[in-house]
């Protein structure tokens, strides 16, 4: 499966808000790992809802990496799945507008070209309400594995 030229990889989060920035850091590392491979679009930001949907316009495939809090998993746990496989309460959301699900539905209704597949990696995190540039130890430990999974997925030999 080749996603070259048609895939956007987005790290969501705030890079100066401790574990909140884990998705951003992972995508930066994936970009470094694939520096010699042309055609992928890498992006980052504190996006949600309509903003996130709009960022996906024009791509056939999308990869989203984000912090994840269920409170029921150990920090550092990783969830990887397609957007539609997530339970209803696990969609990326913006306090200012709407859910990604509603935003995607809106985009499709009005005829925007949106990805046919959205692969999500969520990393359960611990500390997202204190400013800082260091991750919790268990979150830090999870990063290399997720980077490998995302790179492998993008290179078409999915291991997750």
């Amino acid at each position: 499966m080749s996603h070259q030229l048609k895939t956007i990889i987005i790290g969501l989060g705030n890079p100066v808000l401790s574990d909140d920035g884990v998705g951003v850091q992972i995508v930066r590392l994936v970009q470094q790992e694939m520096a010699s491979e042309q055609g992928y679009c890498f992006a980052e930001g504190a996006l949600g809802g309509l903003n996130l949907m709009e960022r996906l316009v024009g791509f056939e495939h999308a990869v989203i990496v984000d912090a994840f809090i269920t409170g029921q998993r150990q920090p550092g746990s990783v969830i990887a799945c397609e957007l539609e496989e997530l339970p209803d309460t696990l969609h990326t959301w913006s306090s200012h507008d709407t859910t990604l699900t509603v935003a995607m539905e809106l985009g499709r209704i009005i005829g925007l070209v949106l990805p046919t597949s959205i692969r999500i990696w969520g990393i359960e995190v611990r500390n997202v309400d204190t400013f800082g540039e260091r991750f919790s130890q268990d979150v830090e430990t999870a990063i290399p594995g997720v980077v490998r999974e995302v790179v492998a997925y993008l290179r078409g030999c999915e291991t997750s």
Partner: protein, 498 residues
């Protein structure tokens, strides 16, 4: 009443966590609306170079990075004692108008407006932008997304990046505008004006011509007689980018007018044991609890309050709607273009649309200003001029935003303080939430879903920004209302997950 201890907000449960305490008669005694607060920002900033702040602070919030970027850049102007060239100020304001257009458009069509367009009693799952499309038509969805896209394009063109702008510098802006860009922005501004007028027409057709909705807007349900705050230009009219802070009393008399750098002389912050977030109030009047009236230092800083303090709108079409708004509420003119304030908080939605029109018209003014093409966009910064303190302020969509930095002589930060838009309105949000609860809880009986709808409408009108929850999964903000008897025992828990 039993002493109340509420655990600190957690991220999972903290968003819009509301505790309602009943008295012995089963009536509402108190409500507590908890907003999560990010911690450690000052410690994170101290020791860094001040010029990093426009880029750091625009990461605070995924909703309004442009506002933080602009307030931070203006604080650096003051810190470095440098006056930006006129063109730099105009480019900043031009970007800021594009931001206001996207922000207010999004709020009306995706968040606040559905309560009216779909109806306040409609199921929550229908009160979103898809419901608006079902009611108004598919074309409105296309228009909303097109409006956002063209203005995000302007923000990227002027600000260097589409999401977190980076062009603000002490003493100016990092890039000038070329004639092709100017022409494109002019075209976009004209489209924005048409869209804003269209949006006001929708509001008129669906809300103002519907007696039930008009009654809701003009009813006492969400009416609070507080002070109003906003930034005004030298003519006393609305300005989002720069000016003096004006505060008017509930009866409309001007209470204060001060330069943003003097905010600490006029504002103080009250602390409550049940929330980390502080409650700003007018220092000279004092904190007297969550009450309104001229004896209470509680104030609001919202689209409605900005219009309340203003001598009018600086642009012609917005001025027409400004007059219509105040005449609809029967407000008497106070002279110089100002009216008695409106205290019916649901009118904030209307005020927001008038601001959308003003931002569009102002965008066109700036885009057609001959000076906008000048290449002179940055004044020279001299480190020997660092004055040790820099305070910058703008009107963010959700209220007056103030950045305050202090540094050593090398420009290294020693102190940082921010008052953000939502924080200004924290006390009024709590008051509106309580009023909604009081309407629907009597003798211990709770109207289940109705109270969730009313409380949602109460805080949505302020468009509070839960900055840390803009992206992180799990996605939906759980709205949790816990109702307790005088002993603190839970009577009922109402919950809506998104």
């Amino acid at each position: 009443m039993k002493k109340i201890t509420i655990n600190p907000v957690t991220r999972l449960e903290g968003h819009a966590k509301i505790e309602i305490f009943l008295n012995d008669a089963g009536e509402v005694a108190n409500t507590y609306f908890q907003i999560p607060e990010l911690r450690g920002f000052e410690q994170f900033c101290v020791g860094r170079r001040a010029e990093e702040m426009p880029v750091i602070t625009n990461r605070i919030c995924g909703v309004c990075p442009e506002a933080h970027h602009m307030a931070a850049t203006k604080a650096l102007d003051a810190l470095f004692a440098v006056e930006p060239p006129p063109t730099a100020k105009k480019i900043r304001e031009l970007l800021y108008m594009a931001f206001f257009v996207t922000d207010h458009t999004t709020h009306f069509y995706a968040l606040g407006g559905p309560d009216f367009i779909i109806g306040p009693e409609a199921p929550a799952k229908e009160r979103n932008i898809l419901g608006v499309i079902n009611k108004v038509g598919l074309d409105i969805g296309k228009q909303v997304i097109a409006c956002r896209a063209r203005n995000h394009h302007v923000i990227q063109m002027l600000g260097g990046r589409g999401i977190h702008p980076s062009a603000g510098l002490p003493g100016g802006w990092s890039k000038a505008i070329n004639p092709e860009e100017r022409l494109e922005i002019e075209t976009i501004a004209r489209q924005n004006i048409e869209f804003a007028l269209f949006s006001l027409q929708i509001f008129a057709d669906i809300v103002l011509k519907n007696p039930a909705y008009l009654e809701l807007v003009t009813s006492d349900t969400f009416c609070h007689q507080t002070y109003s705050m906003g930034t005004v230009d030298p003519k006393g009219q609305v300005n989002f980018y720069d000016g003096m802070i004006r505060v008017v009393a509930p009866d409309g008399l001007e209470w204060l007018r001060y330069h943003p750098s003097q905010y600490a002389q006029h504002l103080a912050e009250h602390v409550e044991p049940w929330t980390y977030l502080k409650f700003p109030y007018l220092k000279q009047i004092g904190w007297h609890g969550f009450v309104d009236g001229p004896q209470s230092g509680v104030y609001t800083a919202t689209p409605l309050s900005r219009l309340n303090v203003s001598n009018g709108m600086p642009t012609p079409k917005a001025q027409e709607h400004f007059d219509q708004l105040f005449s609809t509420f029967g407000c008497q003119p106070l002279g110089n273009g100002r009216y008695q304030p409106i205290h019916h908080r649901l009118a904030t939605h209307w005020a927001r649309l008038i601001e959308l029109l003003y931002a569009s018209e102002r965008m066109l003014e700036l885009a057609t200003d001959p000076e906008i093409l000048s290449p002179d966009v940055r004044a020279k910064v001299k480190t020997e001029n660092i004055c040790g303190i820099g305070i910058g302020s703008v009107e963010a969509p959700r209220g007056t935003l103030t950045h305050h930095y202090e540094t050593d002589q090398q420009g290294v930060l020693t102190r940082v303080n921010l008052i953000v838009g939502t924080t200004n309105n924290y006390a009024p949000i709590c008051m509106s939430t309580k009023k909604a609860a009081e309407r629907l809880i009597h003798k211990g009986q709770v109207v289940g879903q109705g109270i969730l709808n009313q409380i949602e409408m109460a805080f949505r009108l302020y468009d509070p920004c839960f900055s840390c929850s803009t992206h992180s999964m799990p996605g939906h903000m759980p709205l949790i209302v816990t109702i307790r008897d005088p002993n603190g025992t839970v009577v009922d828990v109402l919950r809506r997950d998104g």
